[in-house]
């Protein structure tokens, strides 16, 4: 059972890294005047890991994904931003998943996660750059997190729907 779990976590991490790479093919910040605006495809994996595995496994997946994708294509700064964003998104989605089904659907969880990710990133930027001026990007990032969160949430819901057909999970 343990080996299966490790394999699953590794698979999800690899998938998340690939999604981060794919995401770079759609430079959203070329369309919107905000640096760092991304589709958030890796969030699909986090959400999936949270629903099918334990929060602890999801935490490990986020940690590995952020570390490895920063090594592959980022910098120390982008590592810090992604880490704080990823962990805040994880915490918020983990909390909201407890009321998912009664209070809200996966879409709401995903939107809240996307918003939390952006807030985390901006907090990291404020601390790193020692200036509050970066907060100016927050309103647009938050507004963007609604449509993008809906897309990632829908993607995750569709994936889960298909996953019902096969035996998956630890």
């Amino acid at each position: 059972m343990k080996a299966k779990k490790i394999t699953l976590c590794g698979l999800l991490t690899a998938l998340a890294i690939v999604l981060s790479l794919v995401e770079r093919l759609f430079p959203l910040d070329a369309v919107v005047p905000v640096p760092g605006a991304k589709l958030g495809l890796a969030n699909v994996v986090t959400l999936f890991a949270l629903t099918r595995l334990t929060p602890r496994d999801a935490f490990v997946v986020v940690l590995c994904r952020v570390s490895i994708s920063s090594l592959l294509m980022g910098s120390v700064t982008s590592f810090l931003f992604s880490l704080l964003g990823g962990l805040l998104a994880l915490a918020v989605m983990c909390a909201l998943l407890h009321v998912e089904g009664r209070f809200c659907s996966l879409l709401g969880v995903s939107v809240a996660g996307a918003a939390a990710h952006n807030i985390g990133q901006v907090i990291a930027a404020v601390v790193w750059m020692q200036t509050g001026a970066v907060v100016a990007y927050l309103p647009l990032l938050l507004a963007l997190s609604v449509p993008l969160g809906l897309v990632t949430g829908l993607t995750c819901a569709i994936v889960l729907q298909h996953m019902k057909k096969i035996e998956f999970g630890a």
């Binding site: 009664r102 209070f103 659907s105 809240a112 100016a136 938050l142 819901a157």
Partner: protein, 123 residues
């Protein structure tokens, strides 16, 4: 399917949008955050340093050579008695770091902020 919208989703979306609007409003009220000062330099000495607020309305006349108008959080060189008129054509200054320079009269009008301005974002 787990994507069927529930009322809580709308609450979450509304909350996120409200937060975005709230931050935007707070930033607008704080006027981009930070104080803005207009400095007038003449022959390498600071002759005036005025804090610009929304209510600022002042005209500084430098012995008739240069006339500077401070209005709200903006400043401009209204007139100069030099030939080139470069400083006048610089127009209205609105952000910290901007300056209107009159070289013939050796007068500099510049805006300074109290916070460090970002000059680059490294992605």
């Amino acid at each position: 399917m787990r994507s069927r919208i529930k009322w809580g989703d709308l609450v979450i979306i509304a909350a996120v949008l409200l937060l975005a609007a709230g931050v935007a409003a707070a930033l607008a009220l704080g006027q981009g955050g930070g104080q803005l000062y207009a400095e007038v330099w003449r022959e390498d000495t600071l002759v005036e340093r005025v804090q610009l607020t929304g209510e600022t309305d002042r005209t500084i006349d430098l012995d008739g050579h240069n006339v500077i108008v401070l209005a709200g959080r903006t400043a401009r060189m209204q007139s100069a008695d030099c030939r080139d008129q470069v400083c006048v054509r610089t127009g209205t200054l609105t952000r910290a770091g901007q300056a209107a320079v009159c070289l013939p009269n050796r007068v500099v009008l510049k805006l300074v902020g109290d916070t460090g301005e970002i000059d680059a974002i490294v992605s």
